[in-house]
């Protein structure tokens, strides 16, 4: 895996200081991302799944260097980009792009679709005006927006079309990796299907690798090659998709899978309904962060954090127990 990895994240940490009062003294620390490692191969889709506050979006932002990591390494195309200067990082962003959840909040409302997609091309590609226009038209067409989209403003598009526009912008510089942060969560299901299909087509055609961040297990199961499950800043299980859904080893993964409602009223299944809420990342439980909600927890879980261990080929999980 490592040999072909286009992106590698090693022991990545992001700790936010919580400041209060006149002197803005740090009163606490939120370990939003607390030692996350994974690799992404060219052309692969790795899904990062977990509930609100688990740190999955922070991981995406760290990789793009929209946030600076507290420690750890991000290696992209063989180069450590964790500490690159802003200027050097700008160069890297051509190949490393992001698509956000809410296309309305991430598209400038005062620019036309044509300008939004043209901007990265102008900034980086160094094409003449004619070629640039050609490229913009081609990109819009590629994501299924007609030529009439060129002069429209973001508010004139539907949610699904706006997300297509966000994808066109991300594609403008022919990236090799796209971080997609909940790209379809704000969309209706019939439109979700359109955008997911588009993303899969683009991947097949352009050999893109996706780091696909989502809370929706149905979408994850559809899109992923491999899946990493996060809970309170850490990866608790990572495996190939089939393996993860067929034989999850971590009790949290099991609970997530069994909690997702199935659109099939005749399906009968034993459900593992977790008690309690996700604890605050400001005061994570001792030992295994999951022990407060885990129906199987034993004394050791309360004191000792389980390291990731092998559960088979390319399958790792962080649990003391063999369930």
């Amino acid at each position: 895996m490592t040999a072909a990895a286009i992106l590698e994240v090693k022991n990545l940490k992001k700790h936010f200081q919580v400041r209060r009062g006149l002197l803005q003294r740090a009163i606490a620390e939120i370990k939003a991302v607390d030692g996350v490692s994974f690799s992404l191969a060219a052309g692969e889709t790795l899904c990062l799944v977990g509930e609100s506050g688990c740190g999955k979006s922070t991981v995406g932002r760290l990789i793009l260097r929209l946030l600076d990591a507290t420690s750890g390494d991000i290696v992209f195309q063989g180069e450590n980009i964790t500490a690159l200067s802003r200027e050097a990082m700008r160069g890297k962003r051509q190949a490393l792009q992001i698509v956000f959840q809410d296309p309305y909040a991430s598209l400038n409302p005062r620019l036309t679709a044509g300008t939004i997609v043209a901007e990265p091309v102008e900034n980086f590609a160094g094409l003449g005006r004619r070629e640039r226009e050609e490229r913009v038209r081609e990109l819009l067409a590629r994501v299924g927006l007609g030529a009439d989209a060129l002069h429209k403003y973001p508010f004139e598009f539907s949610g699904g079309q706006r997300q297509r526009l966000g994808i066109a912008r991300a594609l403008a510089l022919s990236p090799s990796v796209i971080v997609a942060d909940e790209p379809v969560s704000a969309l209706d299901v019939s439109v979700q299907a359109q955008v997911l299909n588009l993303m899969m087509d683009l991947q097949a055609e352009l050999g893109l690798a996706y780091l696909f961040i989502s809370h929706d297990l149905g979408v994850v199961e559809h899109m992923a090659d491999r899946v990493a499950v996060m809970y309170l800043g850490r990866i608790v299980e990572i495996a190939e998709k089939e393996q993860l859904f067929a034989s999850p080893r971590h009790p949290y993964t099991r609970a997530l899978i069994s909690a997702a409602p199935l659109p099939d009223p005749s399906a009968s299944r034993e459900r593992l309904v977790l008690e309690g809420d996700v604890p605050s990342p400001m005061t994570p439980p001792s030992g295994c962060h999951f022990h407060t909600r885990c129906p199987f927890a034993v004394a050791r879980c309360r004191s000792e954090y389980p390291a990731l261990r092998s559960g088979g080929l390319q399958h790792q999980f962080a649990c003391h127990l063999d369930l």
Partner: protein, 331 residues
């Protein structure tokens, strides 16, 4: 057969603003029997929330208006009641839960006060009795340490707990019916499972009917007995839940079910079935079937004439509004 608890007949709710009329709900009929759980599903803008707001008379004043139809609840037409009479129904005979509990709870009043208030107003209970009832309700929805938490404020609760507080409040006056509008949409999936389980347990205990409004077909499949599918302000299909999922009859319902991403173990991800195009604008009058422009089965006739509901052969409680029903079912 006894009269249903709720009967909505040809409901039309339109919104009026300077640039025209939006026909948010345009001729909707459905009924809910006592103790039944009915789901109303559809995508954004289909009119499902406006339906709930119409039943409760909570439409934005001046903008939204019921322009036609009747809403019979326990035999009384709610559309004809004045505000004072309605208040005796709302929160008392009909409880309600909304998507975002933080916007429905008053941030400057304690939880106990807010639950007790409803009990005092509707049931004329004394302050002490109302507070006791509030504590009892919090215990019922399994808020740990309920007695102490009565004096806490909404911001001191997590999202899942707030939604449980909303449920406690909605059920405090023993309503006959609960309207829940996307009650779990803002919640994480493990919390959603808790809240849905709780709602169903309480329903069994109190015997309240539930109208569950949601965009999530998974939630519908797991909680409802009967389902109404809405598209562009109209009902396009209605069926008992098993029949709807086993033999969806309307092309829109079929499209919706097919477009849900559900990975199949072992198989390399295939393309999802998409519904081409977009939901029509409700600003313009819709002639014919609202779904026709996106429908693979549509004929010229579909664009001219609005299809009435027709029974699906062999399933007497199953209806769909589609001129091409035989062809769709045979496909």
């Amino acid at each position: 057969m006894t009269a249903p608890l709720l009967e909505v007949e040809d409901l039309k709710t339109h919104f009026f603003n300077e640039d025209g009329v939006t026909r948010a709900v345009d001729g909707l009929s459905f009924s809910v029997a006592a103790q039944e759980t009915v789901g109303i599903v559809g995508e954004s803008g289909c009119g499902k929330t406006v339906t709930a707001l119409s039943i409760l008379h909570l439409l934005p004043p001046r903008l939204g208006r019921i322009v036609g139809g009747r809403i019979l609840f326990e035999g009384t037409d709610l559309t004809r009641l004045g505000e004072r009479q309605l208040r005796q129904v709302r929160g008392n005979r009909i409880g309600m839960i909304f998507q975002e509990p933080m916007t429905s709870l008053n941030p400057v009043l304690s939880i106990g006060h807010q639950i007790a208030e409803a009990v005092r107003i509707h049931k004329g209970a004394s302050a002490a009795a109302a507070r006791a009832r509030a504590q009892e309700m919090l215990e019922l929805v399994r808020i740990p340490d309920a007695g102490r938490r009565l004096d806490d404020y909404p911001h001191q609760f997590s999202g899942g707990m707030r939604q449980r507080v909303m449920i406690a409040m909605a059920l405090a006056c023993d309503p006959k019916m609960l309207i829940a509008d996307e009650p779990t949409t803002a919640l994480d999936v493990t919390i959603q499972a808790q809240v849905l389980k709780l709602m169903l347990e309480l329903k069994a205990k109190t015997g309240a009917a539930i109208v569950l409004i949601t965009h999530d077909l998974g939630v519908v499949a797991e909680t409802c007995q009967r389902v109404v599918v809405m598209y562009a302000g109209r009902k396009v299909e209605e069926a008992p839940v098993k029949q709807l999922f086993a033999r969806p009859a309307h092309p829109y319902t079929r499209g919706l079910l097919a477009s849900i991403a559900r990975g199949k173990a072992g198989a390399r991800a295939k393309r999802l079935r998409e519904i081409p195009g977009m939901v029509p604008s409700l600003r313009e009058p819709i002639h014919g079937c609202a779904f026709a422009p996106r429908c693979a089965f549509a004929l010229e006739a579909c664009r001219l004439e609005q299809p009435g509901l027709a029974p699906v052969a062999g399933e007497p409680e199953h209806q769909a509004a589609c001129l091409r029903l035989p062809a769709v079912l045979a496909s």
